[in-house]
């Protein structure tokens, strides 16, 4: 035996001996028996103090620091943007859709514009800069999207559009940035409204181009497959048949996979449903929303108070894992579940991140 092997053996023996013989708990075969619920797994419940609470204090501090940093970034970004903000939006009172400026006969009906604006306001990340034509930007402003996040496109504005995160493509915008902008730099349709010349597409902008995006997406799909396989193997996570099919089609947003995995470290999680890839986004759009039934480690459904505690834990998570929306809802049958939703667009490379 080499000196290293000897040191290793002695170190391991010393570490192991920190567990005294009397520390072995009695075998609990009956207490561990699982419940036969389709939504729940059970498991041994440890008595004593909830050890996981130990991380709450540092996490709360981290969350506060992150919130302060994020707030200062948003404020500085807002101030910088205000100086360049187009005069058309600055100080302009909000007007109803039918009174808004229209660029020409090909522009979509106001109702379609309002639908698209409402969707962007509710579903697109609050940090995303949105490029749009004037009429659409006005509708977005009216829907509650901060004006500092709006970038009004001008003719020949393709370079300008590349600085945004999301582009709302109308016929007017296609005229401004070129008909092939979408195929070249915004290959992902997040949502689509209306049809024909009046169609509005909300697309994610990929400034490195569609080819680079496809390459990153291929890496991501591989990572998503591995993560999904791990998740389906996890005895603390159960999934409904429909959710399993969606998982196995690698369609679930990576942030959601990580959040489910995270919640399973605290309790048992049953995925009731996935959803919300955006209207008109097609079957390949990532699913950014999930209904999650939570069971305690002993296998009984979480009470409302316990669910609130899980919700609070979920809300402690940091960007980019923090959900845009996390709330408790009642599903048919009366059970209360956790509803978690992430904003569009789905960032790539989350699962390959090694931080």
């Amino acid at each position: 035996m080499t000196p290293l092997e000897d040191k290793l053996r002695r170190a391991i023996q010393a570490k192991a001996s920190q567990v005294p013989p009397e520390a072995v708990p009695p075998l609990r075969l009956s207490a561990l028996r699982r419940r036969s619920s389709s939504l729940a797994h059970g498991g041994g419940e440890r008595g004593g103090a909830p050890a996981r609470r130990g991380w709450l204090a540092p996490v709360a501090s981290a969350a506060v620091v992150t919130a302060l940093v994020a707030a200062s970034v948003v404020v500085s970004h807002d101030l910088a943007d205000r100086q360049q903000r187009p005069a058309q939006l600055a100080g302009q009172p909000q007007r109803p859709a039918q009174q808004r400026q229209r660029g020409g006969p090909q522009n979509p009906p106001a109702s379609i514009t309002d639908q698209a604006a409402a969707w962007v306001a509710a579903q697109v990340s609050p940090n995303a800069v949105v490029s749009c034509d004037l009429a659409t930007c006005q509708a977005l402003d009216a829907a509650g999207v901060a004006t500092s996040r709006l970038l009004i496109l001008r003719p020949g504005g393709a370079a300008q559009a590349l600085t945004s995160t999301v582009i709302v493509q109308t016929a007017a915008v296609r005229g401004d940035v070129g008909a092939r902008f979408g195929a070249r730099y915004a290959p992902v349709v997040l949502a689509s409204f209306g049809s024909g010349a009046g169609q509005i597409e909300v697309r994610a902008v990929e400034r490195t181009g569609a080819a680079a995006y496809r390459s990153k997406l291929a890496d991501d799909l591989e990572a998503r497959q591995l993560a999904t396989t791990e998740l389906l193997r996890d005895s603390r996570i159960s999934v409904s048949a429909a959710a399993r099919r969606q998982l196995q089609a690698w369609r679930v947003d990576e942030r959601l996979l990580i959040m489910i995995s995270f919640l399973s470290t605290l309790d048992r999680v049953a995925v009731v449903a996935f959803g919300d890839s955006g209207p008109g986004a097609g079957a390949s759009g990532p699913l950014r929303w999930a209904e999650l039934a939570i069971d305690t480690k002993s296998g009984r459904p979480a009470t409302l108070a316990e669910l609130r505690r899980v919700l609070s834990d979920a809300n402690q998570s940091l960007a980019p894992y923090r959900a845009t929306l996390a709330k408790i809802i009642a599903i048919p049958g009366g059970r209360e579940v956790l509803c978690v939703q992430y904003a569009a667009p789905t960032p790539l490379g989350i699962l390959n991140y090694n931080g």
Binding site: T2, L4, E5, K7, L8, R9, R10, A11, I12, Q13, A14, K15, A16, S17, Q18, V19, P21, A23, V24, P25, L27, R28, L29, L32, G43, G44, R46, G48, A51, W55, P58, V59, A62, T66, E230, D234, S235, I258, M259, S261, F262, S264, T265, Q316, S317, L318, Y321, G355
Partner: protein, 179 residues
């Protein structure tokens, strides 16, 4: 007439499984909890992993072809449970930007140089990839042979040898400055 007999047989089989698993637990629980503790550095977590492993064995007892395989099954289940617990811990850290577990304050004994050295070895062990760490613990804590480690980890004996060699190499490099 058949039903009570069948029920009686099932009950007898369950009792027999419970007795067998309980006997195996009594003989091996401490060493397995200690092994899981070395891997996880978390005593409650180690106890949970071992309980789950024995419960899994109990559930599969009727399907075991050979009762001698039981200990291999349970060792593999403990390692799988440790891997899962470490994965969960990594997810928690990632999502919450959680800090690594605080180590207990140094005791008088820990101030002794030998203890410091041992702690450094354990920390280096924790930095090894999961598979290497498992092979090292099976070899140097449970004193298993290459063949036994191969059965527990479901890999070839040659892979066991190369994994342990790579682990020792990495530990040697890692500890060079401190040992």
């Amino acid at each position: 007439v058949k039903l009570p007999e069948a029920a009686g047989a099932r009950s007898a089989a369950r009792e027999s499984a419970e007795d067998a698993v309980a006997a195996l637990y009594e003989a091996n629980a401490l060493s397995l909890i200690r092994m899981a503790y070395v891997v996880l550095d978390d005593r409650h977590g180690a106890e949970d992993v071992v309980q789950e492993a024995f419960y899994g064995l109990y559930r599969r007892w009727g399907r075991l072809k050979d009762a001698d395989n039981a200990i291999y099954y349970v060792r593999a289940a403990v390692l799988n449970g440790c891997r899962s617990a470490l994965r969960h811990r990594a997810v928690r850290r990632r999502v919450l930007a959680d800090r690594p577990d605080q180590r207990p304050a140094a005791s008088a004994e820990a101030m002794v140089i030998k203890s410091e050295e041992r702690e450094e070895v354990i920390r280096a062990l924790a930095r090894l990839p999961h598979r290497q760490r498992e092979a090292v613990v099976l070899r140097f804590y449970l004193d298993l042979s290459d063949e036994q480690i191969a059965r527990v980890m479901n890999i070839r004996q040659s892979t066991v040898r190369s994994t342990v060699a790579r682990a020792l190499d990495a530990l040697g490099r890692d500890l060079k400055e401190t040992l």
